[in-house]
């Protein structure tokens, strides 16, 4: 499988930033600090279960 991480990152950024470009930047920096660099993931990137689990956890925490 491929591309799920990019989908999840995009969904996470949208969830947090709601279209606000300044917030988008902040959210992306937070992801980079966690070791998840949005630039590194494309629709062709392999699905890494550890990264997917982490992103699921992050989306759950922010509610």
């Amino acid at each position: 499988m491929a591309g799920k991480i990019k989908q999840m990152i995009d969904a996470f950024v949208n969830q947090r930033a709601q279209g606000n470009s300044v917030l988008e930047g902040v959210v992306k920096i937070k992801l980079i600090l966690k070791g998840i660099d949005p630039k590194m993931y494309t629709p062709e990137s392999e699905d890494d279960p550890a990264i997917i689990a982490k992103l699921n956890e992050l989306m759950h925490d922010f509610k």
Binding site: R16, L23, G25, V26, K28, I29, K30, I32, L33, K34, G35, D37, L58, D61, F62, K63
Partner: protein, 366 residues
Amino acid sequence: MNIKTAFSVKTDIGDVVKDIKSQLGDFAANLVVFFASSAFAPDVIARSMNEAFPDAETFGCSTAGEIVTGKMLSNSVVAMAFNRHAIKSAKVETLEDLNADSHKVFDSFERHFNKTMAKMDPKQYVGIILIDGLSGKEERVMDRIGDFTNVNFIGGSAGDDLKFAKTYVYANGKSYSNAAVLAILEPGVEFSLVKTQSFCPLQKKLLVTKANEANREIIEFNHKPAAVAYAEALGTSVADAPNHFMHNPVGLVFEGEPFVRSPQQIKGDSMLFYCSVKEGIELSLLESTDILNDTKRALEMARSELGGISGIINFNCILRTLELRQKRLTTEYGELFADTPTIGFSTYGEQYIGHMNQTATMLVFR
């Protein structure tokens, strides 16, 4: 005037508090933030400042030097008082054990402001964090805060005048170590956050290929021993590399802006930093620029963005302070803040989004 500052260079805590109270006069403070030299007994300064302002929430920390309107100081206490026009509401909490979960603190914030952390608008609320500067836990705490809220927390790591023995944070009359004070403020005025660091990225990239995050240790850059790779990027020897630490730290660069990670020492072939970095992160070698001009420009931008500034809290890295002292520029740096009520301190690390080094992070009020 909705924000007022005071400071004292007296040596007896009773005299200090009397001095500060007298300067603030009958200003109706509902929040007092203070920074105190580590020369002052932490329990006593925390209790005394709290007792002096019974109608206000009080919080602060120990420092490696203080900043007040127009001046850089040592062995002093500086304080900033806010009235209800400047700060409509504030909640101060203490994370008493940095290894513990922060849910209780966030639950308290949610009860006070009657909304979830996720629903708090970062344009309406701002957070301040003051954290034990010897804990090594700043990254973890900032990471967890960021998971729960979009509210920006800005702040600094408490210092102890370069003794590196014990630092303290203060909240509502008590002092704590291995702890963090977290405060969420609902300002009554517009506010802005400033992050300024006087470095520009060079073209040399250093990919962290092996690291021990808990120890803030980078073992390998670019699959080479970290010290060797850093020295090669500089074009010098490993033996000479420590001489470049101050002027050539490394940074995570996001859209052209560096988040600085300062080298502390070479340990064998590895390098210890004042901030941890995860494996897989690409860093850039940085080169120092002009602290005075860069800080002046950052303040001008904030002033222009807000249409005026009525108060600044400045969390200024001790490494910047040491550079200013070395270059005999502390008077000039202080003077950058001469026209605006300002307090601040020399920190053992700075926080904004994450933890960083050799930076000044500032909370600026319109």
